[in-house]
Amino acid sequence: MQPAALENLITALRVLPGVGPKSAARMAYHLLQRDRRGAEALAGALNHALTHLHHCRLCNNFSEAEVCEVCASPNRDKRQLAVVEMPADFNMMEATQSYGGLYFVLMGRLSPLDGMGPREIHLDRLISRALDGVVEEVVLATNFTPEGEATAHTIGELLKARGLKVSRLARGVPVGGELEYVDSGTLAQAVRDRRTV
């Protein structure tokens, strides 16, 4: 029989994705025995994040302020709005340094069979955000999975009907890709999406 405090910690750690009882126990022992400082930092950071982080009023990404730094920046092109699924996708887009507009982070995707519908990805908020009168073009940067495509299609239809210009990220053979080594699905799509030069 373990002390209740230890049991509680192990149970609490199991909320993490992919963490079962064994990994949770391992993590708990590690934090308590090997790295009490780290454990304190973790507890503090978790608490701080929970009280100070919320969703940016404009882009829905995590932010400490009501409006995040990106949305508040004067150097951004406010006529472009890129729609991404997750904060990680936002980070990737930023890392390319090829896009200077603003964002909307869905925090998910339409996934009919998981019960993820328009409400779960805040489509009503996206629509009113895109119709602020300043946005001219919405760039659909959701994943190229069936769920991401369904999401892009749905948002595209809703916004086109409201008079906005809508574009979708192009896809195809990767930079530096040799046809011989590209997977056949990608190549087939590249043939379908070929463009006139």
Binding site: G20, L113, D114, L123, D183
Partner: protein, 249 residues
């Protein structure tokens, strides 16, 4: 391991996946000779996994797995080629087909005919491009009604549409009927059931969906039959389409 526990290069499609442990997924697949099977794809969520892009719905695959338990282990998946994924509205229809198969097929029952029908239906869905909005809508509706009818009859809920369940006589085109899932077509005289015209019943029996009124009534009738078969839990894809329609207005 016995010989029948190992399956090689079986044609199949992923219907749906969900995360499993830290880096894996469980894929519910529909295969030609083994029906619906649940496969663990180990490591499929690792960034470098070749399975990552493959274990997606609407991708024709050759699947190899082993094991005998409820959850088999996938050991190879290969892109089979030849079929492009449906897009736009047709893609939504594809999710609907997948949800129907997930909800209505029991694991491990082979349905070769239905599988071939599913592949043909996906091909038709992918081939809807270049039509006008109205043409596309009715084209997609016809595809869905045919699939629903086939699915129901394949899993043993096939209905006889063109025979009057009371008299045993053929249904007459000009007469109004109500359709009861447990009994069939009855001449309408105030009893419960899905109201439907004789012409629609004849069209359903003969797989003809050209008449606009047939499409409308067939949709309601198929919905009644599918709901009857599914039980209480509603279909997610239907609910999603309803919510989207609300946003459009």
């Amino acid at each position: 391991m016995s010989a029948d526990a190992r399956v090689n290069n079986e044609p199949g499609f992923v219907l749906h996946t969900y995360p499993f442990k830290e880096t894996s997924v469980v894929a519910e697949v529909f295969t030609r000779d083994h029906g619906r099977v649940a496969l663990i794809a180990r490591g499929a969520r690792r960034p470098t996994s070749t399975l990552r892009g493959l274990m997606q719905p609407f991708t024709p695959l050759l699947l190899s797995w082993f094991g005998k338990s409820e959850l088999r282990t996938l050991h190879a998946a290969e892109w089979q080629g030849g079929l492009l994924a449906p897009q736009g509205r047709a893609l939504m229809c594809g999710f609907y087909l997948n949800e129907l198969l997930l909800r209505l097929l029991a694991r491990g029952d082979a349905h070769e005919t239905l599988y071939d029908r599913y592949v043909a239906t996906l091909e038709q869905l992918a081939g809807e491009a270049g039509r006008s909005d109205y043409e596309r809508a009715t084209y997609l509706e016809r595809i869905l009604r045919r699939f629903e009818k086939n699915l129901l009859s394949e899993i043993g809920y096939g209905a006889t549409f063109d025979v009057d369940a009371d008299s045993g006589a053929p249904v007459q085109a000009q007469v109004r009927y109500v359709f009861q899932p447990e009994r069939g077509a009855l001449q309408a005289s105030g009893q419960p059931g899905c109201p439907v015209s004789g012409q629609t019943l004849i069209d359903l029996a003969t797989d003809r969906f050209e008449r606009p009124a047939t499409l409308v009534e067939a949709k309601a009738l198929m919905r009644t039959l599918i709901n009857h078969t599914l039980g209480a839990k509603p279909l997610y894809t239907r609910q999603l389409l309803r919510e989207l329609t609300e946003l459009t207005q």
